[in-house]
Amino acid sequence: MKTDDLINALGADAGRPALSLGGIWMIAALSAVIIAGLVFMAALGPRPDIAAAAGTVRFPFKFVVTGLLAGTALVALLALSRPETVSRTRLAALAAAPLALAIAVGLELAAVPEAEWMTRLVGTNMMDCLAAIPSIGLGPLALFTLALRNAAPSRPLLAGAVAGLAAGGIAATFYASHCTDDSPLFVATWYTVAVAVLTIAGAVAGRTFARW
């Protein structure tokens, strides 16, 4: 086929596609939150003492970390879904959630006697946490992978991994309202492992499905 024939064929299709890239991500993010919320409410639901917990320091802080993770990952995901190279400085925002968590861990270590560190780290819900966050995040990850398929990521593996982070952030936000282990030591350990599972799954999905 001659390039000119191709140009003529494509030229007849001028006009904008129905959905902009921003629109695609808006729909993907909203549906991801809805699906994660439905799965969460069906399987777990918030803890009964949530009103009392909201008055503490540690419980609300969990949402600062998970919210930061979801927010920064979604912003990075939008940038990574365009073909142009994304600078390291723009990706550096992804460090916000780990940084906030690291500071909280430092404060917790200073505030709590050493004998209690392990008890707080192990907590009582670690298996729950490891199972729930990936399960709640599966739907969002599938939606984000689908959105990436409709985008043009020049680094599909990296974009997929960040999609996993975003799905993990959303899932962890819901799960945090169920879990009674509020210590940053618990969050830094088990939430991290659970989100890492989604990140690896996202990288594989991106490599497999988001190439174009």
Partner: protein, 176 residues
């Protein structure tokens, strides 16, 4: 064609101007051709990659931010497609079929085995693969395929045509 002119034409094209779109595609093709030729490697037809890029920029045109410059976007797509072509070519050694034709047994059946079909499909770019597999293997219509892949019918026809041409070229049967 410079950045400002290309961006102006692309904006007009996105607003529905077919003439501007054809002019933009010609300008983009020239730019990509120069880019690919500078990096050409033996065994890769630069024009194949130019067409690959044109098709990709059409299907992915919503990933351009209309307020951003268009040449970095074009180069990013060209770069991705060039790397993709290198990778798909991989370590394959090109042997002229004529040279070994005498040593190959004559095929007993003219229909390709599913392994051959798989091999032919695997040699295609992902976009072409989904179109060729939907239409030629699953037997779906152009319209259905366009709807399920979110492409226009023209883009599906073009991808099908180019995919089949690539298979014919690579596997020799029914071409040239």
């Amino acid at each position: 064609m410079d950045e400002a002119e290309l961006a102006r034409l692309f904006r007009a094209a996105l607003a529905g101007d077919e003439k501007a779109y054809a002019a933009f595609l010609r300008g983009a093709a020239a730019l990509v051709r120069a880019y690919v030729r500078r990096r050409a490697q033996p065994g890769l037809d630069p024009e194949d990659i130019v067409q690959e890029v044109l098709l990709a920029l059409h299907v992915k045109r919503h990933t351009w931010r209309t307020e951003a410059p268009v040449t970095p976007w074009l180069h990013a797509i060209a770069r991705y497609k060039l790397i993709d072509a290198y990778r798909r070519r991989g370590g394959r050694i090109d042997v002229d079929l004529e040279e070994v034709a005498g040593t190959l047994a004559a095929p007993e059946d003219d229909r390709p085995s599913s392994r051959e079909v798989g091999k032919a499909l695997a040699s295609l770019a992902p976009g072409q693969r989904s179109v060729v597999s939907a239409i030629s293997v699953e037997g779906r219509s152009i319209g259905e395929t366009a709807a399920s892949l979110g492409m226009t019918e023209t883009a599906v026809r073009v991808a099908l045509h180019r995919g089949l041409a690539a298979i014919a070229k690579k596997f020799g049967r029914g071409s040239r």
